[in-house]
Amino acid sequence: MKVPKGRVTFNDELCKGCGLCVEYCPTHILYQDMKTLNKAGYNIIKVSEPDKCIGCAFCAMMCPDSVIKVEVNK
């Protein structure tokens, strides 16, 4: 399996389900899971195709709540 360029980890409990990361991800691999709520009652974000992550960190940059950690494959 091809190793992706980047990988993202979500601290779900900090997420407020605002959807900015979903909007600004250039490879469109993020989506809001309308079936899963965190403790604060927000629908959290999941990654649909992690191997397509390019590690651009646009999602993390746009996230107002520092939910996302982005790592790149060196």
């Binding site: 927000y42 590690g55 940059m61 950690k69 060196k74």
Partner: protein
């Protein structure tokens, strides 16, 4: 081998931000926090929190802080910086705090060239108190105190803070930025970093006006609010550098 490219800044505390989902405040907090860490000034910094949605910013910035009365942040900042000239002092204010009740304190701090940095969050509305009209609200914008839309003859015109402050001699760096997409976020960070760098170099008053959003009181989703910041706010509040003493 995985290397961290982006994670939560040490310049922020562990306290969960109290802002609404998708509010630009959170983005700007990160940019300021990252800047203080990267310029190695976090442990010398004193944040002056204002009154508005960001009244709790003293809980979020990982440095010493003072909580100012509404509009007075630049006066507190002046009071601190004059007695602690080697510290880094910054205010974080919304459009009500800075452009309405606090306009005199802000103008005069700028005029005296106080070596402070002002982060000005312009989202054209009073968020904390439930969506009243701000000095920066757009003509026609419906708010709880301009329910049929802002009318120039009755409510005055939107105040252009960056344009006004560009004429003040004590201003060393002044840029209006936005955070409505990643490219603008990157540029906003550059601007904020430059402002704090100028403070380190004691060049005078620095201010970054950030065209921001208020999804809840604008009645939009966070994504649509970012789009409105670009389509409607930016034409009224053009982005760019309004003054740079370092470039003169």
């Amino acid at each position: 081998m995985w290397e961290t490219k982006y994670e939560k800044s040490q310049g922020l505390t562990d306290t969960k931000l109290s802002y609404c989902p998708g509010c630009a405040h959170g983005i700007v907090h990160k940019l300021v926090a990252e800047t203080l860490v990267e310029l190695d000034i976090l442990d010398k910094s004193i944040a002056i929190a204002s009154v508005g949605c960001s009244v709790f910013s003293y809980q979020f910035f990982n440095c010493d802080a003072q909580q100012a009365p509404h509009g007075r942040a630049c006066a507190l900042a002046t009071g601190v910086k004059r007695v602690l000239p080697e510290n880094i002092v910054f205010t974080y204010q919304g459009d009500g705090d800075l452009a309405s009740i606090g306009i005199a304190e802000t103008i005069h701090a700028a005029n005296r060239g106080e070596n402070i940095t002002v982060i000005f969050i312009n989202n054209a509305i009073y968020g904390m108190t439930g969506g009243q009209m701000a000095p920066t609200s757009l003509i026609g914008q419906k708010t709880t105190t301009s329910q049929d839309g802002r009318v120039a003859e009755v409510h005055g015109n939107p105040i252009k803070i960056s344009e006004m402050f560009a004429t003040i001699g004590g201003v060393a760096y002044l840029e209006r930025v936005s955070v409505y997409d990643p490219k603008h976020v990157i540029n906003a960070k550059k601007a904020i970093k430059k402002a704090f760098q100028y403070q380190k170099e004691k060049r005078g008053f620095t201010m970054i006006e950030v065209v921001s959003t208020c999804p809840v009181n604008w009645g939009m989703t966070p994504v649509d609010a970012m789009k409105w910041a670009k389509s409607d706010m930016e034409p009224e509040y053009p982005l760019g550098v309004f003054k740079d003493k370092g470039a003169e």
